[in-house]
Symmetry: C2
Subunit: 344 residues, 2 copies
DNA sequence: ATGGTTTTCGATAACGTTTAAGCTAATTTA
DNA sequence: TAAATTAGCTTAAACGTTATCGAAAACCAT
């Protein structure tokens, strides 16, 4: 491959008949360099549009000013929103971000992590895929000194700093609202173990039931993974075998999409027949006619806080801050009703 | 910053009491190396979990096996779908992808491009932000030999290879379907110049009108940018000032969200009162109750084709293939109706 | 003038690879 | 059997930076 036609320190140095070292120091405002030289160097660097080669710099400095962000799925609006908060905050703090998607699959998450390590990112904002797997990757990252902060989801076996909502409480509030609206046959759909978020949300669901003195019906706890298709099937088959809920607590956004479609495909309406509840973003009306009760997770703020925490850890000299930040949530109700349409 | 605790060629070389060159060649199956040595090297590299330092390699080879992907917005499902096609195809061809979002803003697109150039990506899959701006960045990329392929959107002033749908035809088909359904007061909402996609779609809209011998009502052409909020305002104010359409052709997905919310907020129903039409993805039912006519753009396939074209150009020895690939579309109709809900 | 400090720059090595060229010993060729 | 080739490794330079050390020049105080 042909070498890239780029302006380098060397070329600037040759041009000014000084050494690369001098140019480097001048650009970094080192006290080693005279004002005259500093100005001259900066002027020509500007004129030629010089941009430092971050590969070379990272190689020697072990510092890339790169942050990796690993998320499960682009279609989950919580993650598109929080990604924005992350990007903007990171830029303000002079870091670039690299977004990777694991699609709820461990192999891909592992690939993502390895790639980010290969790129020598300074830190990673992580949403792990659910379930158990070989933890060697995490150990390796820790060993390499790559800082990790979890947001939204946490890892059980690692005490990485995190920024999350109080999932148990949020789920409690969500379920209570359903109960307040006189619903009693409330389904819980999604994983209820493995991933921390799901476990906590399940506990909140139980809390609410017992607060309203409603007995738990084991048939109403329907395990599924976090995918839309699987959730659809689970919900559909529940309805098909005669289970008639009047509300559904969905662990994830895609779970809610799947459940919603299953409900509509069964000829039922939302929210008249069944109230759907989920955990989403703050842009409640951005999606047309998704008539859920929604826990606003404040994704933008979560993203920002996560960056702050991560950068704080990266730039800490010695001691590493391990903190668990909780972001406040709010219950929102959408305004639209939805049902199968007859004909156009 | 402390150096990363990583396995390097050097360490492997020391361990085996050979030189780094030998190790490098052994790992690359060079004919310079004996079978015995090759095996020995590979075994210990495996055992130690060696991963080559791509920074160092890229520095010398001018070849990163990295592809940049620039998209406008994560919330547009076309892009989340196509990103998946891109990621998977790229991996199959031994490239990693880096996703960047410009949020329809030129400054950010420019930052994205510069960052990707800094990272020494081999090529970029580009969806430019709409409107005019300083083209220096593009020129610089071309000069640096970074291959560029556009998909979905094209750049007017550069003949970069591209993968798109036939926007004019698709828009024609979409509008015709509205006309076939006896709608005559059809709005066109969104930009109708600047960005190529918008221009083409506007032409298709005109084509359909004249095919059905419907006169163009200039009041029905409502310019807006591609953002949801702006589209909402434009649609709302149109309805408020007494314009009563029975269908709306939306240039983009976020435009459609904005328009849809405006319609519902005005107490009108979709699609009974107003049919919404947009250009979307193939997962028509993934979004709950978005009751549009949708042109299925086959995003997954577009993504794959774009990667193929880009990689082909990157790996071409001399001549660079400049091709414009057209992907077939299909008109889909969603099944749900939607209106404002009265009470829970 | 002397000695000491400060300012300003250069020389050199290093980061982890790849690669062209060089060297030695073994093997082949005439 | 001497010359030529080949196999198998090492040397050294390079990619574009940064960091450390050293040296010359300038400044300052006595």
């Amino acid at each position: 491959m042909a070498p890239r036609n780029k302006v380098t320190l060397k070329k600037i140095a040759e041009l000014l008949k000084v050494t690369p070292a001098t140019v480097s120091k001048a650009l970094h405002d080192s006290s080693d360099i005279s004002d005259a030289m500093r100005k001259k160097v900066k002027k020509t660097a500007d004129k030629l549009g010089y941009r430092p080669n971050i590969l070379a710099r990272t190689l020697i400095q072990h510092r890339s000013f790169l942050l990796g962000v690993i998320i499960p799925d682009l279609r989950i609006s919580f993650f598109s929103e929080s990604s924005r908060g992350i990007y903007e905050r990171a830029r303000k703090r002079n870091y670039e971000t690299i977004l990777m998607v694991h699609d709820e699959k461990h192999e891909i998450e592992k690939e993502n992590l390895e790639f980010l390590s290969d790129l020598h990112v300074d830190g990673i904002l992580l949403n792990p895929a659910p379930g158990k797997f070989n933890y060697d990757v995490y150990d390796k990252l820790v060993e390499e000194g790559i800082q990790i902060v979890c947001y939204d989801r946490k890892l059980d076996d690692y005490n990485f700093p995190s920024v999350t909502i109080d999932d148990r409480k949020a789920s409690y509030i969500l379920t209570c609202e359903m109960l307040r609206l006189r619903r009693r046959k409330i389904l819980f759909l999604g994983p209820n173990k493995g991933i921390s978020v799901a476990r906590e949300r399940y506990l909140g669901y139980l809390d609410a039931l017992s607060a309203y003195k409603v007995a738990l019906n084991p048939d109403y706890v329907i395990p599924s993974d976090l995918s839309q298709t699987h959730s659809y099937e689970k919900m559909k088959s529940a309805l098909d075998r005669g289970i008639e809920p009047d509300a559904v607590v969905c662990v994830g956004a895609l779970v809610a999409y799947g459940a919603g479609n299953a409900i509509l495909d069964s000829g039922l309406s939302i929210p008249d027949d069944i109230i759907l509840g989920e955990f989403g973003d703050n842009d409640i009306n951005s999606r047309l006619g998704v008539p859920f009760l929604t826990i606003n997770q404040n994704p933008y703020k979560i993203g920002q806080a996560a960056v702050d925490l991560l950068v704080q850890n990266i730039e800490a000299k010695e001691k590493v801050v391990s903190e668990h930040i909780i972001i406040e949530t709010k219950l929102l109700r959408r305004e639209y009703g939805i049902r199968r349409h007859r004909s156009v």
